[in-house]
């Protein structure tokens, strides 16, 4: 082919020629790639099997996440989505019970403390000795020496 012929070639023709050349070279590369060494073929087969095993595991996970689960409460059993209303309620109920229990314990404890303080107050007030006596240093000294 001459240079003049080359110049008159359109881009489309040139693209087509390049594509034909490319496909031809690629087909020869493919021919060579098929003659891969046995150890490499074996490793590729192993890699493929690993990938398939992982795909099966991933598929099982997806199916497990999508599948409905059975929520049983007493004699009532129902199918529910894990993210459904029942599932959320079931998850929140123990937490709510725990909070209520802690609040109850705190309330009972406060009441017991108040009762104990009231009992001490009542004992002090009903005693013959006035409460102010316990703040008197002389009386405190008297109590000390009395014990000794």
């Amino acid at each position: 082919m001459t240079k003049n012929t080359n110049q008159t070639f359109s881009h489309v023709d040139r693209d087509g020629l390049e594509a034909r050349f490319g496909v031809r070279v690629a087909s020869m590369l493919g021919e060579r790639a098929q003659a891969t060494a046995p150890d490499i073929s074996e490793r590729l087969r192993f890699a493929r099997e690993q990938a398939l095993t992982r795909a099966q595991a991933a598929r099982r996970q997806v199916q497990a996440a999508d599948a409905p689960i059975v929520v049983s409460r007493g004699r009532i059993a129902a199918l529910a989505n894990p993210l459904g209303w029942w599932f959320k309620l079931g998850s929140a109920a123990p937490l709510a019970l725990l909070v209520l229990g802690l609040a109850g314990i705190a309330h009972v404890h406060d009441k017991a403390q108040i009762a104990a303080v009231a009992e001490v107050d009542a004992a002090l007030l009903s005693d013959a000795l006035p409460p102010a006596a316990y703040t008197d240093p002389g009386f405190a000294e008297y109590l000390k020496t009395d014990r000794e």
């Binding site: 490319g22 020869m28 493919g30 060579r32 992982r54 997806v62």
Partner: protein, 189 residues
């Protein structure tokens, strides 16, 4: 969603080309095998819910990304810089080179191989493989994706993360470089 058989058939059909393509890039068979295996597993785990028709493009993207990750991990910065900047000298130099001569050779050689040529044919295939391996990385990637993996220009651009115009330029330069190199060795594919 692709079935196990579809996935297996797809991986089987693509594995050797994927290995070769990666080996061209990283120039180490063991690393290429690791990259291909990682890519297969990534495809299987992350895209198992995709239809079978989407697998080829997804796999090529994953493989390209995995190869780039390998380069990053290896910190072979010089190699990457070389691969991405080696476009110089491939423009006007091709002016005197006529791809049509090579294509005439193609047409002339089709169907003319005899049994006695088989040994030399093996050598020719080896030489062609070497010449493809010698191409700059981006040109080689564009060439292999377009003509070996048979992706269209848009898909190739998507995998390579560049414009369609760049893909055409890379492919054209790769074809001319290959044709010139093969002609210099007296080979008409």
């Amino acid at each position: 969603m692709a079935t196990d058989k579809e996935l297996s058939d797809f991986l089987k059909s693509v594995e050797k080309r994927a290995f070769k393509r990666t080996a061209f890039a990283v120039r180490d068979d063991d690393s290429a095998l690791d990259i291909v295996q990682d890519s297969m597993i990534r495809l299987a785990e992350k895209y198992v819910d995709r239809p079978a028709a989407e697998l080829p493009l997804l796999f090529q993207r994953i493989l390209s990304n995995a190869t780039m990750d390998w380069f990053r991990r290896q910190k072979v910065r010089n190699a990457v810089v070389h691969n991405f900047s080696d476009f110089g000298g491939s423009g006007d130099e091709d002016g005197d080179f006529d791809i049509l001569e090579m294509l005439d050779g193609i047409e002339g050689n089709v169907g003319t191989e005899s049994a006695s040529d088989s040994v030399s044919r093996d050598q020719i295939l080896l030489l062609i493989e070497r010449e493809v391996g010698e191409l700059p990385a981006r040109q080689r990637e564009a060439f292999l994706l377009r003509y070996w993996e048979e992706l269209d220009v848009a898909e190739t651009a998507s995998v390579m993360g560049c414009s369609e115009g760049s893909v055409k330029t890379h492919c054209s330069r790769a074809v001319h470089a290959l044709a010139k190199a093969l002609k210099a060795k007296g080979i008409a594919p």
